[in-house]
């Protein structure tokens, strides 16, 4: 090739590369807009709430005086509701996903079910609240209790858990399934000895993403009638005498973190706004902690399993 042509080509490449640079800058700006806004919000929340984040804040009930008020009933409520949510959503979601992915025949009925499961993830949470109010609170007479709230949120995150679990199951390569079958395994042996253990990481990640969504939900919980001011704790789950475990707490009234925050933000006094900010920091911390656990679990399991 002769000289002038080469120069022309270089010019062309340089012109094309300009778009790389332009996009890199535009992309970075877009990214920063998002990240900086979030950081600013978080920073403001921390600055406002930090002075209130003393041990007393965690072990006090709400109170008429902002300085004495705390989040004891709220964080205990949130923890117990999340426990019920996880215990209900994990077995239901994982079993449904296994059925859909490994057992269900591929026909129009399962196709319809599949599409609906995906769509359910987009249903507004308040609709779940209404459904739960009718079903759990009145029909099944579970009351405005921790149990009702946990089951409501379990319904809410079920589609997330199902979709994530199916993806995790699908990530197990066909060659591993064939290896198990070729040794004479039944479908259940293949699933329970191989596919399920190998996809644990993905499943747990899905569950935790679901729980992180549930922990901040307010609307459905208000709909089923959580209290906004509660100055006592539910029955303790562990007791001093036989049989040591008690389930009375399931039927107790409760409040949760977002509701406590909502309650405080609607007060006119400035001091309560600081309480709300402090509770927000705690709620964010809980979410980050859960996500951290998810990342750690995934990392641990990935280290063992590489396809």
């Amino acid at each position: 090739m002769n000289q002038p042509n080469i120069n022309e080509m270089r010019g062309l490449i340089a012109r094309h590369k300009r778009w790389d640079i332009i996009f890199a800058i535009v992309g970075l700006v877009c990214l920063l807009v998002g990240i900086l806004t979030l950081l600013a919000l978080f920073g403001q929340l921390v600055a406002e709430g930090l002075p209130r984040l003393k041990p007393g804040f965690f072990i006090s009930f709400p109170s008429r005086s902002a300085e004495e008020a705390g989040i004891l009933s709220a964080w205990v409520g949130t923890t117990l509701v999340m426990l019920v949510t996880a215990l209900a959503a994990v077995p239901l979601g994982v079993a449904s996903a296994i059925y859909l992915e490994e057992y269900a025949p591929k026909n129009w009925l399962t196709a319809v079910i599949e599409i609906n499961v995906t769509n359910l993830a987009g249903v507004p949470s308040i609709v779940y609240g209404l459904l739960a109010l009718g079903l759990f609170v009145y029909q099944l007479d579970l009351g405005q209790s921790i149990l009702s709230a946990g089951l409501t949120l379990a319904l809410l995150i079920l589609p997330v858990v199902i979709v994530a679990t199916r993806e995790a199951l699908r990530a197990v390569p066909g060659s591993i399934r064939e290896a198990a079958y070729a040794l004479g395994a039944t479908r259940w042996q293949m699933v329970s000895n191989h596919v399920l253990p190998y996809s644990q990481g993905g499943i747990m990640t899905g569950v935790i993403i679901g729980l992180s969504r549930a922990i901040g939900e307010t609307a459905p919980i208000i709909t089923i009638g959580a209290l906004t001011f509660i100055a006592f704790l539910p029955h303790p789950p562990v007791t001093g005498e036989f049989p040591y475990l008690s389930f009375a707490w399931l039927k107790d009234p409760f409040t949760v973190m977002p509701i406590q925050m909502f309650n405080w933000t609607s007060r006119p006094e400035e001091a309560f706004q600081h309480n709300a900010a402090a509770a927000g920091v705690v709620l964010l911390g809980m979410t980050l902690l859960m996500n951290g656990v998810a990342i750690w679990l995934r990392y641990r399991i990935r280290k063992r399993i590489k396809w």
Partner: protein, 259 residues
Amino acid sequence: MSETGGNTLKAEARSLSFYYGDYKALKEISLPVHDRKITALIGPSGCGKSTFLRCFNRMHDLYPGNRYDGEIILHPDDVNILSPKVDPIEVRMRISMVFQKPNPFPKSIFENVAYGLRVRGVSKRSTLEGKVEQALRDAALWNEAKDRLHDLAFNLSGGQQQRLCIARALAIDPELVLFDEPTSALDPIATASIEELMLELKEKVTILIVTHNMQQAARVSDHTAFLYLGEVIEFNETKKIFTNPDKSQTEDYITGRFG
């Protein structure tokens, strides 16, 4: 029955056809598999070698739309393993398979080899340990693996992983072992060790192997079948196939003149 040279047969395909949906991938194949011999399947890509091999452990049953026609008779009890009345799991308990790419489970070396036994309900530690050791010895992996039985199988090299898969297939005392291009992902040294291994194994077990490597077929097998477009073009003793084939197509393929 087509017994050549007084050899007994381990299995026999009788006008076996196979369909992926409407596509007929195997066309009335009849082929004997001699007991405790190595039978090689050769032929150009897409001619149906893997499809044929996977009929022997009913692997095709795992996917919808597949259909068998004809029979594969397993001796000595003369059962047609393709019959819908025969449970594919029962077939897979008698006939094991080694795949093209090593596919160990993400478990320990020990658990990989023991899995087939566990599926068969063996759970006594001492029995498992004995069988695992024997299988690893048979697969020529014992010396390398004996000190790291509880290490992850993924930490082994590719060739070792394939020998592990062979050990896994042998641990269940199969009557017939299917190999689908077991060395195509391996380097020449690992390939040589697996070929050597197969020659030792045929003392105990019947082997049916798919290979793309003409030298490999010539080196290890006793009988060779040349498949083309889903049909058996020629079947004979390996020596005959490689020195003086009856069909010109076979000769063209073996000498690399196939177009």
